[in-house]
């Protein structure tokens, strides 16, 4: 029985369904061509897989097929062979690198291939811990050393109270001196520029910290700084002051007054402490700076004086030679001003001469020279008001008042004249010389002339160029009866004497004139005193002449005379006083007690005319002095009858 059934054998749907439309129609993908199929399969090859992974390939292939079925993966590829190419390229690169490395390694110059130990060495934990501990210990040691250093420096400051702190000293320095910071250094200034000085030389100094443990800068504390209390006598200073070489050492200005190559007096301008102390290299900074300031001041003073000496016109030009100014003040007398600057090296040599001349040291002139420059400084900074705030100069006070007080041209020109320092010093020195000469004359006369006493009183109020002396001429024991007063004004180059009678005598600098005047005055005093005494004794003054025209001519002045009569008129005394020869006293009797008629004079009445004078031998007279002798003479001649 055989009936056959047709069995339809169909190929399965080879093509994948692309999409199913809504009406149920299935749209198939076109089957892959042979080349497409190849490229697809090639893309699936993983070249990176190692040999050992090849066994698993069949499984992977299945997976790859599954992945390949995803149309998105396939379409992402830009170009069918792109991934294949990339992989091949990477492989090439790696092979190239490998070949390069091998080539370098073969050279054995730059690279050496060593077998890598398969097993890393066993790390013991304790070793690491010990290593760390050691490292930390080292770090701690470094820290401790640093901390120790800080601690020592701190504790040393606390312990060594005698060593002042650098900053404390700096503060002290700042309070007394001008300081500023330039770069890394501290610069100070000792010049008087802020006080009005216009000297060009700078007074810069440098402040630095002193090195530790230098006993060389042990020195006494600053004496002048007002705030510093009584410090221990020897303290090391934490400051070091470095001065320029031209300001080191000690300077002073020496003033001699020379008379025909013979020093009359000399003065040294320097502070006494500096004179004795000398320039020590390890002085305290305060003293060091003061010395430097003094050096600068002396230099400025000398500079100023030398400039003026060159410019000043005079009958005898002033000379400036080296460190010396020679100015003539009076005929035969020269003023020599010298600048002495001794640095530490030659201090011993130059400190000798001032020591010898110390007896002639004149503090007044020293002071006035100082004062003159200080005055100039003061004037430079203190202008009278009103003055422009921006301008360095203003009109003087006199000039300000010139307008309101209607000053004329002459007065204005007088106003504009100003004296230089040198002129002022010369004037003061002239006055000084004049005063010395006047003193000398007065004392010499007082010593020479014993009879009338000459008492001179110097006025305590005077100025640097004017002094006054009162001369009193009197006789010992008779000072209430008569005294002659003279006042002598001592000026710069002249003397003015105001006499008892009000007459004024002007004299030049020659002392002989004063001497002559005084001697004349002494003899006039004698005559005046005799007259006053006669009045007391009851005697009559018959005649009196201060300037007698008779007798021999006097070398100096005139002789003066007076004639006195006894109370009853029978005795006469004639006194003649000559400045050179002294006193002559003569007496006459009229009438004489005993009368002998002669052929010529026959009657007694003629005797009343007065007889001839007989000179008294004055040196044989009793009495202490002239007036005493006169008193005794008068007393003996006064007859009771």
């Amino acid at each position: 029985m055989a009936y056959s059934v047709n069995v339809a054998i169909e190929a399965p749907i080879e093509n994948q369904i692309q999409e199913i439309s809504y009406d149920g129609t299935e749209v198939y993908q076109q089957p892959l061509s042979m080349s497409e199929s190849l490229s697809k399969l090639a893309a699936k090859i993983d070249f990176g897989k190692g040999q050992e992974e090849k066994e698993e390939k069949p499984n992977e292939k299945q997976e790859d097929e599954a992945a390949a079925k995803d149309p998105a993966a396939y379409q992402s590829s830009l170009w069918p062979w792109d991934s294949v190419r990339n992989k091949l390229k990477n492989a090439l690169t790696e092979v190239c690198v490998l070949s390069d490395v091998l080539a370098i390694a073969k050279e054995k110059r730059y690279l050496v291939l060593d077998p890598v130990p398969q097993d890393p060495p066993e790390i013991k934990a304790m070793v690491t811990v010990y290593a760390r501990k050691k490292a930390l210990g080292g770090a701690a040691a470094v820290l401790l050393t640093g901390a120790e250093r800080l601690r020592t420096s701190q504790s040393e400051l606390v312990r060594n109270r005698s060593v002042p702190d650098f900053h404390l000293e700096l503060l002290q320095l700042r309070k007394n001196w001008r300081l500023k910071k330039v770069g890394n250094s501290i610069i100070g200034d000792v010049s008087y520029r802020t006080a009005g000085s216009k000297f060009a030389q700078s007074g810069m100094f440098e402040v630095s910290k002193a090195e530790e443990d230098t006993p060389s800068n042990w020195s006494p504390p600053p004496p002048q700084s007002p705030n510093a209390g009584p410090a221990p006598p020897k303290t090391p200073s934490a400051l070091r002051v470095t001065l320029p070489s031209e300001l080191q050492g000690v300077a002073f200005i020496e003033v001699h007054c020379r008379k025909d190559d013979e020093a009359l007096f000399s003065t040294t301008v320097t502070s006494a402490s500096l004179n004795t102390a000398g320039p020590m290299p390890d002085m305290h900074w305060q003293k060091k700076l003061e010395a430097a300031q003094n050096v600068l001041f002396c230099k400025e003073l000398f500079n100023q004086l030398a400039k003026e000496a060159v410019q000043l016109p005079g009958p005898i030009p002033h000379m400036v030679v080296g460190n010396q100014i020679v100015a003539s003040i009076l005929p035969g007398i020269q003023l020599i001003i010298g600048l002495r600057h001794s640095t530490s090296s030659n201090s011993k040599k130059s400190s000798g001469p001032p020591q010898q001349k110390k007896s002639d040291h004149d503090h007044v002139l020293e002071h006035s020279i100082h004062q003159l420059l200080r005055e100039v400084h003061h004037k430079n900074t203190h202008h009278p008001f009103p003055h422009p705030s921006s301008g360095p100069l203003g009109p003087s006070k006199q000039r300000c008042l010139a307008g309101p007080t209607a000053v004329d041209r002459h007065e204005l020109t007088e106003m504009s004249k100003s004296q230089t320092l040198l002129e002022q010093i010369i004037e003061q020195t002239q006055h000084f010389t004049m005063r010395r000469r006047t003193e000398y004359v007065l004392d010499t006369i007082a010593k020479e002339v014993r009879d009338p006493l000459i008492v001179s009183h110097w006025n305590s109020i005077n100025s640097p160029t004017k002094a006054c002396v009162k001369v009193n001429i009197l006789t010992h024991g008779y000072d209430t009866i008569c005294r002659t007063l003279l006042t002598i004004h001592v000026g710069k180059k002249s003397l003015k004497c105001i006499c008892r009678d009000g007459s004024v005598m002007n004299m030049s600098y020659e002392i002989q004139e004063l001497r002559d005047l005084l001697i004349c005055q002494i003899h006039q005093h004698q005559i005046t005193a005799v007259q006053a005494l006669a009045k007391c004794m009851g005697w009559q003054l018959l005649s009196n002449s201060m300037h007698l025209g008779v007798g021999e001519v006097q070398q100096m002045g005139n002789a003066s005379s007076c004639i006195l009569a006894s109370p009853i008129g029978d005795r006469l005394i004639a006194v003649r006083c000559e400045p050179q020869a002294g006193v002559h006293v003569s007496i006459a009797h009229s009438p004489r007690k005993d009368f002998f008629p002669s052929q010529l004079v026959k009657e007694r009445k003629w005797e009343n005319l007065g007889g001839s004078y007989k000179e008294v031998r004055w040196d044989k007279m009793e009495g202490k002095n002239f007036l005493n002798k006169m008193e005794l003479l008068m007393a003996s001649l006064t007859s009771s009858s």
Binding site: G146, H167, V455
Partner: protein, 144 residues
């Protein structure tokens, strides 16, 4: 205010002081932190252990030295600021000057007064002495 009047350079100096302060303090802190980190030792590197330990030791030393340096730098800063204050503290300098000048003026007036008194006394005594000297028989040799 006084601050406004400061010139540019002073302003910059003050700023540099404050920057130095901050830097130094920061350096102290950072270096300390780094040392602590190193002490933990959690660094993973390809170096061998010994090299690593050696490096750590060296680094710790350097960092601790840095701390010390920062500390000393702070001390230096303190000193610098002190110096700056001393040199630029004009009010206190003015005070000192005023005080000094007052003191010296006072001293001057005192000295003047004393000198005046001395002069008066001496003038009075000199008058008497002159009177006595010139009235006496004995007179000294006068030096020229």
């Amino acid at each position: 205010m006084a601050q406004r009047g400061l010139p540019q350079s002073k302003e910059a100096l003050l700023k540099s002081y404050s920057a130095r302060l901050k830097d130094d303090v920061k350096s102290l802190l950072e270096n300390f932190e780094e040392i602590i980190k190193l002490a933990k030792g959690e660094s993973d590197s390809q170096l061998s252990r010994m090299t690593q330990c050696e490096q750590d030791t060296y680094e710790m030393h350097v960092r601790s030295a840095n701390i010390v340096r920062a500390g000393e730098s702070l001390m230096k800063l303190v000193s610098d600021i002190k110096q700056y204050l001393i040199l630029n503290d004009f009010p206190s300098v003015n005070d000192a000057i005023t005080q000094n000048s007052k003191l010296f003026r006072q001293k001057q007036s005192e000295a003047d007064q004393k000198l005046m008194m001395l002069r008066d006394d001496m003038a009075a005594d000199l008058y008497d002495l002159e009177e006595e000297y010139y009235n006496s028989v004995y007179k000294c040799r006068i030096a020229d």
